[in-house]
Point group: C2
Chain length 389, copies 2
Amino acid sequence: MTEQQHATDTPFGSDSVGIVSPQTLHFDQPLMLACGRELPEHDIVYETYGELNAARSNAILICHALSGHHHAAGYHSADDRKPGWWDSCIGPGKPIDTRKFFVLSINNIGGCHGSTGPATLNPATGKPWGPDFPPLRCRDWVESQRLMMAHFGIEQWAAVIGGSLGGMQAMRWSLEYPDALRHCVVIASAMKLSAQNIAFNEIARNAICSDPAFHGGRYLEHGTSPKQGLAQARMIGHITYLSEDGMKEKFGRDLKAGDLKLGASGPVEFQVESYLRHQGERFAGSFDANTYLLMTKALDYYDLAREYDDDPVAAFSHAKCSFMVISFTSDWRFAPDRSREIVNALVAADKPVSYAEIEANHGHDAFLIPIPRYIAVFGAYMSRVGEGL
Amino acid sequence: MTEQQHATDTPFGSDSVGIVSPQTLHFDQPLMLACGRELPEHDIVYETYGELNAARSNAILICHALSGHHHAAGYHSADDRKPGWWDSCIGPGKPIDTRKFFVLSINNIGGCHGSTGPATLNPATGKPWGPDFPPLRCRDWVESQRLMMAHFGIEQWAAVIGGSLGGMQAMRWSLEYPDALRHCVVIASAMKLSAQNIAFNEIARNAICSDPAFHGGRYLEHGTSPKQGLAQARMIGHITYLSEDGMKEKFGRDLKAGDLKLGASGPVEFQVESYLRHQGERFAGSFDANTYLLMTKALDYYDLAREYDDDPVAAFSHAKCSFMVISFTSDWRFAPDRSREIVNALVAADKPVSYAEIEANHGHDAFLIPIPRYIAVFGAYMSRVGEGL
């Protein structure tokens, strides 16, 4: 596709990748996992935006976060009103400029948007994997993404890019396959989660596993789904992805229903309660509970420097790429301090690194939002990535 | 009791109030509530520490927070290893010095530690009140505390003191009955909750109400209790009462079980997960779910200045007492900013106010902990309260 085509073919404007279609690739060979088990075969659902150049040197890998998937940009039909999750950053003229770059966005294994995961059939039993799906680490996703890379005949990514859990995958790429990427962009991420982060993930998991419809993870075999628990988990997550100031601005103490005057009776509902419930229910209708458990555990277990004597400088000494690290002031789940730790380790390891802390009151969700300075800084870095392709 | 008696009668040391016994008072007269309904009759369970002087001028009212109760200091038996919840601040030589003050600590109506609440019998039906218990506001507790005041023949409190939701009651006292208190001590509190606070309370309530054992609040009639939901609610609360730094120091990423090495399989449990689960289960075994719902709603609905044209300065202009306001640096649930708003409004209303922001990494729970500077500052203020009694 070219820019001109978008402007005429679709109603989405010249900075959109337009209508995109997910594809599926099947891998027959077993994938050895960090837990010591093998995934016998697997599917990967993916989308691509832009064109791979002849030298295959302009490929960008997008790594998704906890609830993300392959549909990062564009629309699935002309009536589709909701673009991909990172449409603010991927498209003609956007930071990840599809006039220059070929962008590959996949749904990770363990996910629930078409790639092999707990909700797909275990070939050994003919039943859904459910709780028997192997536990995954970030490095397993890197290995699976390597297979995709080989499929496309790409020898080196121009950049591996991700926010949050996606940033953790990008960093893992830089350590495991230093020659396979020229740039690593790590947004709103961390080298490991804090005890508080783990605690929030644990209560989210507890909500799911306590739902009577969970059935020890075999809910699909029971023809049900732990929707209450999953909604509760999402509500917890959602609060922590927003900032206190952002919530104040968006909802304040406004009421959706009822009256708080003295003498008034009947139920009272704050706007923020109604919003959270809606978010929880919507998510629970489209996400797989076992995937949520698997993804939060991968987050908790991630520790960039564990295999490097707990020394992030020693870890990053293996990297050969350049780094861009971005954080957001009001992000308290992956706070700027966590990004500064990454930057400090990279500097100590003598690696080229750019760092930007973006003023934003959107909390952790800021990485999905087209905040002007964020877009400018990210775009400027990506221009350098695109130089001389 | 005197200090000498404690030192010889009990094994608890000279700065403890020693062994204490809860008492119960029954009130026959109906109590008109803010919602427009009447509580036909009610019991109040209480404890007292120290002696009421002849002038009845040395009485201190302790207002408890969300999960608090009447047992604020001392021990219930010689084998009792766990003192009352605010034992760090109440006793001979402690900030609330029982050699000088007569301290009254009650379990608020709506509670679940012996005072009339959702778990007690509704005289009209002979069944537990359950979800039919009237919704309460802070001002209802003030009214109920007024009845206790009259019972003891106290015309003016030397001070009304509370942390968190307790501080909200203390502030309400200063506006509703300006002549009834000389001092108001407001610790780790706020004039109203933020959207984020309301959101956390809502997911806690959602956890309780989603538990199949909740039965629309009539779980006692079903001979059960929504323990899973209540445990989940407590876990959520608990994370938010601690600070990120405090959790890091206490738990870090230490494992309780399992192994995160590559190739290791089997379940992994972080210390912080085990701790939270234990806290949740313990709480769920001793607290009433309907009380939790009622208390969190009272918190959410509290808005100091609602009946004063949303102007806290106009609200506080009615107060006649002196104020002490205390906050803790790492408390993000009732942040120092919220206390500064109280102080600023008091200053603008030309009221005498002392303010201390205490450096502490214990989060909201800091108000329960004997942090030296906190104890010193609180104690110094209480010395002034005790002058010339």
